[in-house]
């Protein structure tokens, strides 16, 4: 299954690993902030409706 | 008429603070703005002076006739009183300092560094700057802060003089300066909170 990467295996694997890790961090950070902002906005609007 | 305001709204930090303002300012007229702190008097003056765009409405008037004096006097502490005044005179293309010096009793302070003046003396120098601009419309933001009673009287006298010479003045101040002035209370023009500044309400 695994292709033979020869003597450059470390380089290729670390390039893939690093890139995917950076992408994952970016996506996770975007989703986390999205969820956080969404939650606080909804909480705020619910409170406003409750008051008014 | 030197300044006409039609349906003006002004905003601070993206929020409209005053709206629906209509007034005119004629030569020889003084208009006093009143209202509690934070009601938008400074914002209105800055808008009229051209430092920020109106949120809505029109300002009809020539910006080249306006001299603006803010809370801060714009003095350079290492320059002398004379140098400070002379600089602003040059910027506004005038040359005669003596009326301004006389009006605010600065004659004895001329060679003192502005940094060595008391708060009241600095304020007097800041107001003297208006006189050297040679401009017709004075816009003053809390001009009497840190002035003593006799200096306030000097200031009121200078304003009366300015009005007599077909000048006009727009002042944001809490105290009665003892000259005939139209009073505009800005409180009724406080912007309604219905308008969200940018995005529509109920966005989600």
């Amino acid at each position: 299954m695994m292709p033979d990467l020869g003597k450059y295996a470390t380089s290729v694997l670390s390039a893939y690993g690093a890139s995917i890790a950076i992408l994952v961090v970016l996506i996770w950070a975007s989703l986390a902030r999205s969820a956080r902002v969404r939650k606080s906005l909804e909480a705020f609007e619910a409170k406003r409706k409750g008051n008014g | 008429m030197v300044l006409k305001v039609k349906d003006l709204a002004v905003s601070r930090g993206g929020l409209t603070v005053l709206e629906g303002l209509n007034f005119t300012l004629s030569p020889g007229q003084a208009l006093v703005l009143r209202g509690p702190n934070g009601s938008g008097k400074t914002t209105l003056l800055r808008t009229l002076a051209g430092l920020q765009p109106p949120a809505a409405g029109d300002i009809v008037g020539d910006p080249e006739t306006i001299a603006y004096a803010a809370h801060a006097d714009g003095l350079k502490p290492t320059l002398s009183v004379r140098e400070n005044l002379a600089f602003w005179a040059q910027v506004f293309g005038t040359s005669d300092l003596s009326p301004a010096i006389d009006a605010f009793n600065l004659g004895t302070l001329l060679d003192r560094a502005a940094g060595a003046l008391s708060a009241g003396q600095k304020r007097r120098l800041g107001l003297a700057r208006l006189k050297v601009t040679g401009r017709q419309v004075w816009m003053l933001d809390e001009p009497t802060v840190s002035l003593d009673t006799s200096s306030v009287e000097q200031f009121a006298h200078t304003i009366r003089d300015h009005l007599k010479n077909q000048g006009s003045a727009l002042l944001a101040t809490h105290i009665d300066l003892g000259f005939e002035a139209t009073v505009l209370d800005v409180s009724p023009y406080k912007a309604k909170l219905r308008d969200l500044p940018v995005l529509e309400e109920g966005l989600l």
Partner: protein, 246 residues
């Protein structure tokens, strides 16, 4: 359709939220699928290059990320111009949302470039004009992001960052030219380059196209998601500011 309908309608925050909410899942799925397909194709089913060996597989990440690093800046430039000219808030917020994505793309391009360079050039870093340009681009991104973070008022921040983006673009192009001139003597031969136009055969090229498409879609999805977040955050700040006034 009435004649007033136009593309600009989607600059309205409400319309934007509606449309972006509908298409975001599809773009995300398409981007994810293409990325998996492209990377598996490239990683498992392409041969090694006869000179570069298996390191040629790095191009499936390096080239798309490098392209997106530049395209993200270009998108920010266009969005900044739209904000300055037409004052659509969504545009300014989209530029803000794109910047961190551009930063990440630049980092991926730099890291994969360095990892590729280590066995090929015998060193992690050479002051190759292309690598150096990306480093400079990275610095421009940092300044842009820092400026957004430093200015409190949203409209002021949008105005300042837009002007910075335009001025920065001119200087970025100038830097690219300067760097080329500065290191012309040491330029690496095209035989050992990650540039697809110079030495990539068809067999490597098709999976590369797939990953490029994947990166474009992922970029769009992330920018849409982050723009939605920025719009909500803006709305929240507007509520808060209003509450303080009462």
């Amino acid at each position: 359709m009435s004649e007033r309908r136009s593309l600009w309608e989607y600059a309205n925050p409400r319309k934007f939220m509606g449309l972006s909410g509908t298409i975001l899942p599809w773009i995300t799925i398409a981007g994810g699928v293409l990325l998996v397909v492209g990377l598996i194709w490239g990683f498992f089913f392409t041969p090694d290059d006869y000179r570069q060996g298996s390191t040629v597989k790095i191009i499936y990440l390096h080239v798309p990320s490098a392209l997106m690093a530049i395209n993200a800046w270009f998108m920010m430039l266009v969005a900044s111009l739209i904000w300055l000219i037409r004052r659509h808030h969504v545009s300014a917020l989209a530029a803000r949302a794109a910047a961190p994505v551009g930063v990440a793309m630049t980092i991926i391009a730099l890291v994969t470039g360095a990892i590729w360079g280590q066995p090929m050039w015998g060193t992690w870093w050479v002051w190759d004009p292309r690598l150096t340009s990306f480093l400079i681009l990275f610095l421009f991104y940092l300044g842009y992001v820092a400026l957004w973070a430093a200015v409190e008022n949203d409209d002021t921040a949008a105005d300042l960052t837009s002007v910075t983006c335009i001025v920065g673009s001119v200087f970025a192009v100038l830097s690219r030219y300067a760097v080329n001139f500065w290191n012309q003597g040491l330029h690496q031969g095209a035989s050992l380059s990650l540039d697809p136009e110079e030495n990539v055969a068809d067999i490597f090229y098709y999976p590369l196209l797939v990953t490029i498409a994947a990166f474009v879609l992922i970029f769009v999805a992330l920018v849409l998601l982050r723009t939605r977040t920025e719009i909500r955050a803006r709305q929240l700040r507007a509520y808060m500011a209003r509450e303080r006034m009462q």
